[in-house]
Symmetry: C3
Subunit: 282 residues, 3 copies
């Protein structure tokens, strides 16, 4: 199950949280992990997941985890329910382990992986005692990651379950004969508006040549697609198939979010000229 | 003195600074440490300590250091006096080393540890020459941490001193018969207002059932305590014993700081009904 | 070419980008590198280079790289031209490797190093396939760094070129008989205004005693130089030779940028009394 090459060089533990950078939270987690597994290599993926935003956390880890070596343990803590009855989970894809609260933050990974196994972590002797009701990243998730990195078999942490929380990312829906309605999933660091449209949702948009279309966001209409951010004119808004696999609305060396006066959660419509859209509602 | 297990896997050096994330400062420190001790594992605890804020730095490192393995070296740089006569210090608790300016930033660790030894670092041959007057993190603290990680005996860096700077965190004080006056020590990433009240200061608040009380901050009165952040109603302000060991004023999935219109340094009063408070003034 | 000591402890790969902290970009790069070279130690230098700002990236890596051990690979990604015809480069100084886009971001290192060798990376079998047109940090720069860390000879990645992009940082210019005009290169985390004046540009300013002078920025005139940030009075603006090697305009425990109402790109004049300035225009 483990990548022996990776283990030979020290197990890798990644961290993805909404803890931000201004407190001790992340540093404390690292201490707990290293105290159990000093040979672990701890890798920060992201700590600026939007506070309490489970979908944002799911998008972040889903875009990063698969690039890591076999045997990596990923700790994902976006946990507004800390201290409540929500369960701590250990998920295995066969290649990677995930330690996270049972609130759906692993949902988008489940969409991409066959045959995941999900366990309810009940082995309290692996926890930091006494377990607080406010900082399970320190008391539950970090120590479990430490013991996984140390090589403890995943079965020891608890029994498999199938009733874990799982949600679907919002999908575009037909809105009339020629129109699809989607949403901005996130705005990235450069101001690119990452929508929830994939090539699967609007294949004709990504044909060569693409169908005639317009993308409507706020009071702006976009009629250009480009392959690279640098291909457009200054202050032009354009569509681009981004590296996350979604249609992005972008601008060259400028924030499309500012130019469009839009942000996370904004509605986006794609109007395809001369062709009825395939309904992708679900 | 050193944990041989930890050393076998490479010495750990942690960094806690107010250098932020937008400059080369932290990266340069890491280079200096690794050039001396390439086998060191460098761990970022926090670089967003509030600029020049020694108490904020003290709170941050105090909440994290003890979770790390024996033999860890912690570099703590919040150093408004860089280049002045303030001394560089090397403190040992027997389990951990701390390298920091002599300005009190280690005070709260001293409160928790018996028998610390504090040395004035005078071994200039360990410094990066020429030593600048503006970046001792690079020229003094990082190289000393590197040589500690490499195994140089702490005695070699300078003589023990006892006249180092040490301050006390602000403690709550009695303000009348039934009232204690405290202060907000910090606002965390989620907007929780971390006060300076501990269970020791107001034991009756944390009894089960708690004394009747109200917590007053700004123009808000709080009469609920909860065990978990998720236990409250939306937009409710409540008290909670946080993982730092202090009473926090919090709100579920929202910023208590915004709801209360309060922040760091804001006064907080606890009024206990029907019981005189024990004076905890000092 | 490689430092065997460093290699013995795992190769070091540093990251300097304008990717910020709120997305998966940096974490994904780390995964790609570790998947190729699990023994690599990945070090974050800075991810808050100003978005699209090549000079800011150049200043950042130039202030940090030389402190790292021989054999370190530095990945520098500020890449507004991603997906366009701009080439990926591998530069060697004999001591360090740099992987970066061909847009000048390595220019200031070239100013400091003799005999750099620059290669156009063309070995597509080292890339993550299919190569996207929007995320070469993941698909090109990270895997090349991974293979370098793994010990692949730099010659294998492509042929040497000499027509790479190289720019000069803005230099101060004479503006009349006794006046030099410079510019604020950046504002650091503490609000210090880092100008482009070096001691070479105005040697008389850094004599002891210095020439009579005034520094003019916005509507403020500065007539004091200090050796340490802590040496000044509250709210005083003063000049100081900073650790980057440039004249900074600073204030004690306060933001000089705020006090002077100035920022990146602001003009700065130095007027030297009683002595004609040497022209340093170029």
């Amino acid at each position: 199950m483990r990548n022996e090459d990776a283990l030979a060089n020290g197990p890798i533990v990644t961290l993805t949280t909404d803890f931000g950078h201004s407190d001790h939270f992340v540093g404390t987690m690292k201490g707990v992990i290293l105290n159990i597994a000093p040979e672990a290599q701890i890798i920060d993926i992201c700590h600026s997941v939007q506070a309490f935003d489970i979908l944002d956390g799911a998008l972040t880890i889903t875009q990063a985890y698969s690039y890591f070596p076999s045997g990596t343990t990923h700790v994902v803590v976006v946990d507004p329910g800390v201290g409540s009855a929500r369960r701590p989970l250990l998920m295995s894809t066969g290649k990677h382990y995930f330690v996270a609260p049972d609130n759906g933050v692993l949902s988008l990974i489940m969409d991409r992986e066959e045959g995941v196994r999900v366990r309810h972590i009940t082995g309290q002797h692996y926890f930091l005692q006494p377990v607080s009701s406010t900082f399970h990243a320190r008391d539950v998730f970090a120590p479990v990651a430490g013991y996984l990195a140390k090589g403890i078999d995943s079965q020891k942490f608890g029994d498999e379950i199938s009733d874990y929380v799982r949600f679907s990312a919002p999908k575009p829906k037909a809105a009339g004969d020629k129109t699809l309605r989607g949403v901005v999933l996130k705005v990235d660091r450069f101001g690119n508006l990452v929508t929830n449209f994939t090539p699967h949702d609007v294949p004709s948009l990504f044909h060569s040549p693409p169908a005639r279309f317009k993308i409507v966001i706020g009071n702006r209409e976009i009629t250009q697609l480009h392959n690279a951010y640098a291909d457009a004119l200054p202050n032009e808004l354009f569509g681009i198939l981004g590296s996350m696999g979604y249609l992005e609305i972008a601008s060259t060396r400028a924030s499309a979010a500012q130019l469009a006066g839009s942000g996370k959660g904004s509605e986006v419509h794609i109007v395809l000229e001369g062709a009825a859209v395939a309904s992708s509602g679900n």
